[in-house]
Symmetry: C2
Subunit: 382 residues, 2 copies
């Protein structure tokens, strides 16, 4: 993997050799180095002088050699030790305390003209500490350069997402075989998270949401002590994180033998909207066109007001990444961009339906959108 990370860092390097980049956002650090110890900072210098600085607070114990790095220093998952021949050098932040300040001082010593920092991640206080630590080094904004690099995934990243989705499907499938009536939302959510880990996930990609009865279909519902009852809608939103990669699934079920007519109608509607969104996915398509495809099905049925601001989003090392599938999203999709498609309708007091899938955008020649979360979307009565 080391070569992959080296190549990613090389894309960040200024060919003119005048600017160095300082990366502090954890998901970006992990993308560029394979690890992200708490508070760490990566300096990408003009000529392959890449150095990952580690916090002394992460280090813990003082050592005779202040620059020495041990396995314990890389306590954040995943552990990653300097490999022989690794271009990346691991260094302690030393006396400055803040790895970003140590990186800025090193950049000043390298004689670069500018240091580009992640202004959307660094706090004002930390930015000021950089200026104080390297007073003659002008700071610029790196912006979301690394996030842009992360948008299109390579096949190794997609393979990790595929495994994350398999784990998620397994955990959800097992739950559906058990008896649900009488169990609480909180216990079902915990059970799902335990099963994710049983099947090899790093952990849940985000807090598992289990919503019953009137709660069903609320996208960010926090599980309560409400118990599953006959006749309920039950909606589940969950996902595994595997090797750092996050996927998402959402499904809605009915509890009991026969769903009511309004439940079948609402389900069919959300299913049609979700299918329209999925089928709109293709390289070159505007993100807002995908959103519109899903949204207009709901609006035509009079449920336009009950839809979220986004009907999908990118996934990867973070669960909510670019692109956004929303009415105001101006960008276009590319091949190998994984996204969720997740319209839903919630009727206050009655409940609702959500259907979320994770898919990878592929050209028609490559078989069209690749569905990662393959749990059935038929309306199951459990």
């Amino acid at each position: 993997m080391s070569e992959v990370h080296t190549a990613r860092r090389a894309r960040l390097r200024d060919p003119a050799g005048r600017t160095a980049a300082l990366v502090s956002h954890p998901a970006n650090l992990r993308y560029l180095t394979g690890c992200a110890p708490p508070g760490a900072a990566l300096l990408v210098g003009p000529d392959a002088r890449d150095t990952l600085f580690l916090s002394p607070h992460a280090t813990g114990r003082p050592t005779a050699d202040p620059d020495a790095v041990t396995a314990a220093d890389l306590g954040a998952e995943p552990r990653r030790l300097p490999e022989p021949g690794d271009e990346l050098r691991f260094r302690s932040a030393g006396e400055s305390g803040d790895p970003a300040v140590a990186a800025a001082r090193t950049a000043a010593d390298l004689g670069v003209a500018t240091l580009a920092v992640e202004e959307h991640h660094l706090t004002v206080a930390r930015h000021r500490a950089l200026t104080a630590g390297a007073p003659h080094l002008p700071l610029a904004d790196l912006g979301r350069t690394v996030e842009q690099q992360r948008l299109v995934k390579d096949e190794e990243e997609i393979a990790a997402l595929r495994i994350a989705a398999e784990i998620t499907d397994q955990a959800l499938g097992e739950l559906l075989e058990s008896i649900l009536v009488g169990r609480t939302e909180r216990h079902l959510a915990l059970e799902l998270e335990r099963r994710l880990i049983d099947h090899g996930a790093d952990g849940p990609a985000f807090p598992t949401s289990v919503a019953t009865g009137p709660h069903a279909g609320v996208p960010t519902h926090t599980p309560t002590d409400r118990r599953v009852e006959e006749g309920d809608f039950l909606s589940v939103r969950m996902g595994a994180r595997y090797r750092g990669y996050c996927c998402q699934i959402g499904r809605t079920f009915v509890i009991g033998t026969a769903p009511a007519d309004w439940q079948i109608e609402l389900y069919d509607l959300v299913f049609a909207a979700q299918r329209a969104g999925r089928e709109a996915l293709a390289p070159g398509v505007e993100c807002r066109a995908v959103d519109r495809a899903a949204r207009q099905v709901l609006a035509a049925a009079g449920h336009g007001g009950a839809v979220e601001t986004c009907t999908g989003h990118g996934v990867g090392l973070e669960i909510g990444e670019d692109p956004r599938l929303s009415p105001s999203a101006m960008s276009k999709l590319d091949a190998r961009v994984p996204v969720t498609v997740e319209p839903g309708v919630h009727l206050p007091g009655r409940g609702g339906v959500r259907i979320d899938d994770t898919l990878v955008v592929r050209s028609l020649a490559d078989g069209g959108p690749e569905l990662l979360t393959i749990t059935t979307k038929e309306l199951l009565a459990l």
Copy 2:
């Protein structure tokens, strides 16, 4: 509770009426309002014009009234709805998108001379958006004013911590009654977290660490698939979060009938260090004196180099709060400050011992330090 929050916000109000405060750090928001929806910001104006702004991303669905707030908008735990007669007004951020920007515009409309923001929490990019949103309003640094307010707890906060500790003791106690040999660190950690929730915790206060054999005693050990073996040291570090309040316990056990001599020796040493730290806790005592009391016991036995930079820290709405118990900590303890005392020693390749307690600093007249985590600190062979 509403009056408590009103009083806390009043302490933040500028008596001269010239400065407004903008609070964005989630733990501070929760302290001042009782809730912290994602991305929210609180404006404390000069004359009780308090407004909690909500993110439109949390809000989700567009509504006819853009300023309306529903239960779903307060999706973050705990839910808190505007109460009748509540001085705090709940508002949507509206078109600006960022609640902090909306708050800055309102502050400008109120005619204040300065807006004090949390520079240790706001990112550089968000700070710039505030300046763009309210270009004629000078920004200042609020610093850690709210964190300072949070240092000394009231008895209601301590009661929440006491319940968090009870839950933690119960979960750990149940685990000790079960068979441990052959189970993995990951499964034991999950089991402990499930039990925390069973007993009424909001969730774990921090990721539960279970460390066996050579891992035992590593403070931030991430549980692995290593199985518990006879003769192992087993160290557990965990804590419940209850009504937002976080506690911490750490205990080390031996697996099998008879601990080895080196295990007994190391345990007795860490126990003595931890007791010295606990006994040093009193109002008016320097934080570094508590650290020194624990640290010198370990140093005298030749283990000074294996000790963390901190031997304890404050707890409350965050698991790691001020004060720090470290050699460089200059502040003094006050009554009603809850802290951990948690020295430990790790011997590379062999394992180690950690003993962590959460206590509340009390004067001798009040009975001395109040131990919240009461699980036995005898060396148990399990």
